[in-house]
């Protein structure tokens, strides 16, 4: 009887958690989709790209960011697959600190842009690079705050997430993290590479 009730509660938490997460991710996607819509309008109507004879942005720092965010996402995935056990604590910390590393990288990127003389008001291409990375980094900071929350959740429960409400919360944090990594990949490809 008790297991039946528990199963019911588990099912409820999973369903509610996933519905809410799906709706939230749809909302976030629409925000970024709007940015990419703007990008495509400018890109498709521009005679040359980058416009007005601007130089391309050196790829070193963006590529480094991409590698870092992929590493972070990969370790987050391993953390989830390992079932949040104590022995996978290092995965949590690697993922978290690489996340911080990504944000630091973005600051280096903005600094580098400033040094090579690319400012927000230098036209539409730099505008997009700055605005898109600002918005994405703001979300990464949100993601890091969620990661700290995940840390609290794990340490408070002694690295045993035995009920599915907690498990759902932990999984949601990581899914948001993967989502941001995917958005960054798109930004990297569209803004810097292509």
């Amino acid at each position: 009887m008790e297991t039946a009730v528990n199963n019911k509660i588990n099912h409820q938490a999973e369903l509610q958690g996933s519905v809410a997460l799906i709706v939230a991710l749809v909302s976030f996607s629409m925000l970024f989709a709007t940015l990419f819509l703007g990008y495509s309008v400018f890109r498709l109507t521009s005679d040359m790209w980058p416009p007005a004879g601007m130089a391309r942005i050196p790829l070193t720092i963006p590529t480094l960011s991409t590698v870092i965010v992929l590493v972070s996402s990969a370790f987050a995935w391993i953390l989830e697959k390992s079932g949040y056990e104590r022995k996978s604590m290092s995965f949590y910390f690697i993922s978290f600190f690489t996340g911080i590393g990504f944000v630091v990288c973005q600051f280096y990127l903005w600094n580098m842009l400033k040094t090579i003389g690319v400012f927000t008001n230098s036209g539409i291409y730099p505008s997009m690079i700055y605005a898109f990375t600002w918005i994405h980094t703001a979300h990464m900071v949100l993601g890091l705050i969620a990661f700290i929350y995940l840390g609290f959740l794990l340490f408070k429960n002694n690295w045993i997430l035995d009920d599915s409400i907690k498990l759902q919360k932990a999984n949601s944090v990581l899914r948001f993290w993967h989502f941001l990594a995917v958005i960054w990949l798109m930004m990297y490809a569209l803004l810097f590479v292509l």
């Binding site: 909302s27 629409m30 989709a33 819509l37 008001n121 036209g123 539409i124």
Partner: protein
């Protein structure tokens, strides 16, 4: 749907936990209601100022004019006029209608009508109100900054809204307020959708939900998808204004490369057209239910009504281009958008016919909620029909940017939604606050509002058809508009009458909430949806036992009723055979 465990909240003990930091969806609903009514009065006062300037240009605004505009001797100055119509639109759409219908009644009705004890995420719900409060504060603060509030129209088109068009922090604060409000509404939407999907009482399928919940649910879907689009738009606008990016600057203003002011229009209307359905869908839902409840008949074609509302929700995402026929789109595009727009009239006609079918041969009880609902049927009919002229490219090219547009969207978004909100307030008053509002004064309120409102918006349609443009400070500097002075005076007098009629509502409402001794019965309107099975006002845990649903929401006058009443609670089974 599986039956889910739901905890019973402990009743809050302190003032703060009961009224300010409440997790209870009913209290959050009431917070949104007061918030909305406050902004409704602010926005209404602004509307009166706009109307005054149009009917009596150059004359000081009576009574408070000297105090508000001392430098111009009480006359509304031209730049202030632009701020007034901008802030009137913004406040009414985002800070009055949205909080009242979606914030207040969404929060209040959804859990009660689907038989849940609260929303799925009470904390998120509380934050959603507090973030909305922050946003309202930012918006009000923007009225007091140097160079004044935003003045680029509620649509905030660049270049009116860039630093060139409106220097000063007013427009920046406006954009920030809208972004913050968007966050709040998105949080609300996540809550509504999850609640409707997972917390319906056992036995309640989607078509057993009252149509109010359908309307609110579809609104939440549109909110979750399209508010972030506007969010991105205003963020880029803020970046343009504060950090010097060049998204919406064109030509010489941008030093290299080019921005595109029209891009903002696209982004705005991708959000903006669903937004008008965000505003009207809850009102449609409420009216569909109330017509059935007070005609004492099942809602005619309730399933078709629900499905046509869903169809409209989907179609509403595909028609935004009809706001931009005059931006030199390719004719192929304008015709496509026109065709899609016209398609919306099919589902609209279906549920409109269903409304008429519902009251056809009903034994109608002309209570105040019913009067307001029938008012919605009338004004929405007019509003919908005038929409056809604006959705058609050929007529829109002439009517674009005239008062015909203003009249049209006031009929659909202001008149219908306002009357729908009043219907909802009068109807759910006993369940919200435990008292009934005075029926006599409610009916007086209805008739004066209805006449005043039609005077205002019909007048707008006529003057627009005669060619008067919107947003002009003094249209009568143009000779061809001089003949429109009398109709402008008529419209303004109607607006003043309608404005003063709202005092009746406020007095009636405040009296019923705070001073009325006589308690309402549990089911004063004799209807069978779940919220009427519990005491009035609703206890903090809503349902002591989670109800089990056995029939639909509109089983009024059904021959298979078993209890000798002409309605049946949703927890009761219909007779078989």
């Amino acid at each position: 749907m599986a039956f889910f465990e739901q905890n019973i909240h402990h009743p809050p003990k302190t003032f703060l936990s009961k009224y300010i930091f409440s997790y209870d969806h009913k209290v959050i609903g009431k917070q949104f209601l007061w918030y909305g009514i406050f902004f409704l009065l602010v926005g209404g006062l602004m509307a009166l100022m706009i109307r005054w300037a149009l009917a009596y240009p150059g004359e000081p605004f009576p009574v408070i004019g000297q105090f508000l505009f001392p430098t111009s001797n009480g006359v509304i100055p031209p730049d202030t006029y632009a701020m007034l119509f901008t802030m009137h639109g913004t406040i009414m759409i985002f800070y009055a209608i949205t909080p009242i219908l979606i914030g207040a009644f969404g929060n209040f009705c959804i859990p009660l009508m689907i038989g849940a004890r609260d929303m799925v995420f009470p904390l998120l719900n509380m934050l959603s109100f507090h973030i909305a409060a922050v946003s309202g504060f930012i918006l009000l603060a923007s009225l007091f900054v140097p160079l004044g509030a935003a003045a680029g129209g509620w649509t905030s088109y660049p270049t009116l809204s860039t630093l060139i068009g409106s220097p000063g922090t007013g427009q920046t604060l406006w954009s920030l307020a809208i972004f913050v409000l968007g966050v709040s509404s998105t949080m609300g939407a996540i809550n509504y959708i999850t609640t409707i999907i997972t917390l319906r009482a056992p036995g309640m399928g989607y078509f057993d939900m009252p149509l109010t919940v359908w309307g609110l649910g579809l609104t939440a879907v549109l909110n979750a998808i399209f508010l972030p689009v506007l969010g991105a738009g205003v963020l880029l606008l803020i970046f343009d204004r504060v950090f010097g990016t060049t998204f919406f600057l064109a030509g010489a203003a941008a030093t290299t490369g080019t921005g595109d002011p029209v891009l903002f229009q696209h982004v705005f209307w991708i959000f903006g057209h669903p937004e008008v359905y965000i505003l009207i869908l809850p009102a449609w839902g409420v009216v569909s239910d109330l017509l059935s409840f007070f005609a004492r008949k099942p809602a005619f074609g309730a399933k078709a009504t629900a499905l046509s509302m869903t169809t409209i929700t989907i179609l509403s995402t595909l028609v935004y281009g009809h706001h931009m026929f005059t931006t030199q789109m390719s004719p192929l595009l304008t015709q496509t958008f026109m065709t899609l727009t016209m398609t919306i009239s099919i589902p609209s006609a279906i549920f409109f016919a269903n409304w008429l079918g519902t009251i056809w041969k009903g034994s109608i009880r002309f209570t105040s909620p019913m009067l307001f609902s029938m008012g919605v049927v009338f004004v929405f009919g007019l509003g919908g029909l005038t929409g056809l002229y604006l959705g058609t490219v050929t007529t829109d090219l002439y009517l674009h940017d005239t008062y015909f547009v203003v009249g049209h969207f006031h009929y659909t978004m202001a008149a219908s939604v306002l009357l729908g909100s009043f219907a909802a307030v009068y109807f759910w008053m006993p369940k919200m606050f435990g008292t009934m509002m005075c029926e006599f004064w409610a009916k007086v309120h209805f008739w004066i509002t209805m006449l005043g409102l039609n005077g205002v918006f019909m007048g707008m349609l006529f003057m627009g058809y005669a060619g008067m443009h919107r947003r002009l400070y003094n249209p009568f500097v143009y000779d061809f508009l001089n003949k429109l002075v009398p109709i402008n005076e008529f419209t303004t007098i109607s607006a003043i009458v309608m404005g003063f009629a709202q005092i009746i509502f406020v007095v009636n409402f405040v009296h019923a909430v705070f001073f009325k001794k006589e308690k309402a019965s549990d089911n004063p309107w004799e209807v069978g949806t779940l919220e009427w099975t519990i005491p009035s006002p609703a206890p903090n845990y809503n349902f002591k036992e989670i109800p089990v649903v056995k029939c639909g929401p509109h089983e009024l006058g059904n021959p298979a009723l078993t209890n000798g009443r002409d309605f049946q609670y949703q927890t009761e089974e219909l007779a078989r055979g």
